[in-house]
Structure formats: C-alpha cells, structure tokens
Amino acid sequence: MLRDSVGAIELRDVRRLFRTTTGTLRRHAKEIVALDGLSLEVGEGELFGILGPNGAGKTTTIKVLTTLLIPTSGTASVLGLDVVRDAKEVRRKIGFVFGGERGLYYRLSGRDNLRYFAELYAVPPREIPPRVEELLELVGLRDRGDERVEGYSRGMKQRLHLARTLLHRPRVLFLDEPTIGLDPIGARELRRIVSQLHEGGATIVLTTHYLFEADELCDRIAVIDKGRVVALGTPDDLKANVSDLSVVELEVFGIDASTVERLRALEFVDSVVVEQRELRQVLRIQTRIAERAVAPLIAAVAAGQVGRVAVREATLEDAYVRLVGRVE
C-alpha cells in the first residue's frame, strides 16, 4: 500500500568504494566499487524491496542509510535528514535488522536484551516494561522471554531482533535479508509481522534473495546490480518486462556444461538457468515461443536424459534473471 509520494528515503548519486589489499609479500591496494552512483527514492509508508545478486550493493545501501557507512560521494537522507550530517537524529527515527543470528547478548534473556536496547534508544523508563511485553507478544516470544537467548532457535533470534528494532517506534525500518536461514514456517511468521507493520504505516526497506517474498510483500522493487539500479517498479511492472516470455522447465539427468551452452545458443532461447537438485538438474529456459519450444529443446538435450517437462508463465524470478543475467 503506497501511502503518498513524500520521500522518506532519498539516495542521490551515491558512490561507495572499499579499499582492500591483495598479495602477501608485495601488497597492492585495490578499490572495489560497491555503489556506483546509486539513486533511489522511497515514499513514506512504502514497503520497498531491493533485489540483486551477491555483491550487488544491497547491504551497502542499507548500511549507508542506517548511518553505519559514510558514502564516498553523493548524498543520502532519511526523513529529510542527511545520514552523514544528522546521523544521530536519523538513528532515533530508524530501526534495522540484519539477517543472521548475531547481534544479541546471548547470556541475557530475551526480555533483558529488549530492556537494554530500549535504554540504548532512550525509551522512557516507565514505558519500557509494557513496550517489551507488547513486542514479545507481537513476535510470539512472551512465554520464552525469560530464557537465555543462547537457547533460542534461529527463528526466535530473528523475531527477537525484529522486536528489538521496534522498541522506539521507528518511522523507517530497514530489514536486510530478515528471513535468511529460517525454516518455511518461521519465515512465513516473520513475513506476517512485516506485513502487519506495513499496514500500521511504517516505511520499510527490505532486501531479500527470495523473489516470491519480494513479490508478496513489496509495493515497489529496485533491482540493483554492480551498485546501480537496473530496474525499478512494482512487482507487476517488473513481471511485465517478461510478459512476452514463457518458461520451459526440463528435469534432466547428468547433462554437461556444453549441452547447456548449446541450449543457450538456440535462436528462440532467451536464457537458461540450471538448478542442481541432488542427482537431477532442473533447467529453466526462458523462451518467446512457449510450447513450440519443447520438442526442439528435448532434441537438443537428448531425449533419454529428460524427465519431467513443464511450461509456465514467467514470474518475478524470471524477470530478475533477465535483468541481472545470472543467478547465484
């Protein structure tokens, strides 16, 4: 639900370089471009997705916006506040969750972790106990709040992180791959909470590798690659980019790289993605000629190697593959 077009977040030509060294005896400095003139605008109340392959600049973007990284050049602002100049004020108004289990005090209980983080965000002392209980209830940890975090499952830790980030009622939330590593039920629960927060009016920026998640949750999505925006729009807009395509899925056994290259070279084939599933491989072949492509594709693979065959419409994932040109 896009509430209005007021810019809650703005990035203007943001570049971010990282310096690293290579070599053991002779060290050579090397510059890595993480963000290469990235420009974005997110409206207030919007749930905005950032997609991209590993190393595309998703996490760097989030870290710039959460004041953890200073851009090499360009400007970034949250709620009209510059993330470099007004960093302290920005921090009061935002919350963030980075994927993974770290970032909690394991020897403390979940409840004590929340109390401490509430102090860090200067939540008034009288408000802390009810707020902590309210959030433990929201993330389904009220009954386990007195247990030490070291005994929590990964999903519980992620939910505790989400509660942690909501303590001071932030106006903008940054969620960097919040469902990474969660089991399907845990991930669905987290998505439900994110949806609920969005309904409550929060501006949310979400990065994810799960395209169905972005499709389900986001109002708009930016696909970034090599530190630049390569596509921007609603999930339907992005899917419209591949409305001319169908996807033929071939389940195959033991095909080699040269066969995949042969498929890619076929005139009617737009792209081929190979997914390894134990002994089988699933080839996802984007094509403009739909069912008519099936017979020549099977012939190209060698009929004896083909198992299940299916033809379906292109999804957001297919749009993503077309945009980014590769999958991880």
Binding site: T66, L68, L69, R91, Y105, E119, A122
Partner: protein
Amino acid sequence: MTAALRLARQSAWVNFQEVAVNGFLLFAVVWQPLFVGVTTMYMLRHRADFDPMYVVVGTALSGIWSTLLFAGSGAISHERWTGTLELLAASPASFFVVIGGKLAGTTIFSLGSLVLAFGIGTVLFGYPVKIAEPGWLAVSLLLAVVALWATGMFFAPLAILWRTVGRFLLVLEYPVFALSGFLFPVLLLPNWIVPITNLLPPYWAAVAMHGAASGDLDLSGLLRAWFFLLLTGGVLLVIASRLFVEVLTRARRAGTLALS
C-alpha cells in the same frame, strides 16, 4: 537519574552478567591474584619488616589491573565479535557512555580480587586485618578504581585504532605491575624510571592504597597521590573520549564495524 547515567548503569549490569561467567576474566580476578598473593606471602613473610597488608593491597591491585587491562583492550573488539558493535554504533546512545558503563561493570567484578586478597591474608595465612586509615583507604580505593577504569577506557579505542598497539597492550600486564610498585617498592628500580612511573595511574593507585593501609603517608601525602590519580586518569579519559569518536568515524569510512 539522567538518561546517560541510567544507560551507563544498565550497560554495567549487562556486562557484569557477561563477565561473571567469562573464564578468562575469572582467571584474572581469582586465580592470578591467588597465585600472586600466596607466592608473595611465602617469599616475604620471614622478613623482619614484613607487612601483610602490603601484600594484600598489592595482590588486589594486581587483579584489578589485569582485569581492566584485558577487558579494556578487548572492550570494543568483543562487541564486534558478538555482532553487537553495529547495533551500538547505529543507536542514538553515546558509544563512550555505553562502553564506559560496560567497563564499569567489569571494574566492579574486578573488586573480587580485593575480597580474595583479604581472604588470602586473613584466612589462608591467619594475619589480622590491620588498616591504619580505613576511611582514607576507602577513598584511595574509590579513586584508584576510577583511575584504573579510565586507563581501561583509554585502551579500548587504542586497541581498535592501531591493532598492533592493541596486541602489545596485552604484554603490558607485568611491566606496569612492576613499574607501579604493587608488590615491590619502586625505589628498588633505577632512578631514571621514576618519571615514567609517575605518569601511570596504577602507580598513584598503589601509592595511595599502600599509604592509607600502612599509615606511611600523612594526609598531605595522600592528597598529593589522590590529585595525581585523578590527573593521570582524567588525562587518559579526555584522550579516550576523542579516540572513541575517531573509532566510529574511521569505522564508518572504512566499513569495519562488522566482522564480515
């Protein structure tokens, strides 16, 4: 209570709970002073001028010093390892107050060495507790603890800004122990070393605590020691506050707040 004080208190409590089960710091607070105290008692107790309180106070200081040296130099990197450094840095709270509070928790924990040192003297060796000036010793202890905490606060950003320096800090344990006269008078050392010892808060901590416990220092001598304790500790704290800002600025430029 202001928000900063409340945050410092909470940070101290959070850290106290963590260090209380930290094997390495337990070693610094319990086992190391136990070894130091017992061996020194055996070495010195047959001397005619033997003062058991000197060993008790020196043993306590050695435990407090070791704990704050190790905890201080690892204070920020510990947060990085646990993945909480980014959360602290991206919160509106003062990083200096948070780490200061946490180190205060460790400092309180290190006072276990003092209790242990008295136990070694009274229970293990059966000496009576004879403190010449208990009130002055209490003041000296308080100021010593504050100055040693300030020293730990100085080490915390130093170890992050210059990693090589950080590694060398860990081997300062014994040199400072010896230069500060915890268990042996500094007068035994060459004269040229004395100006160096005067720059160290642990030295003034030892002067004040030994002086008050034995009654060897009159009030003017104690006031001088307290003044230098506060001065040396205060200077380190002011430098530390600048270094804390530098740590965060550099980390935000270099992108080194997280482990990955």
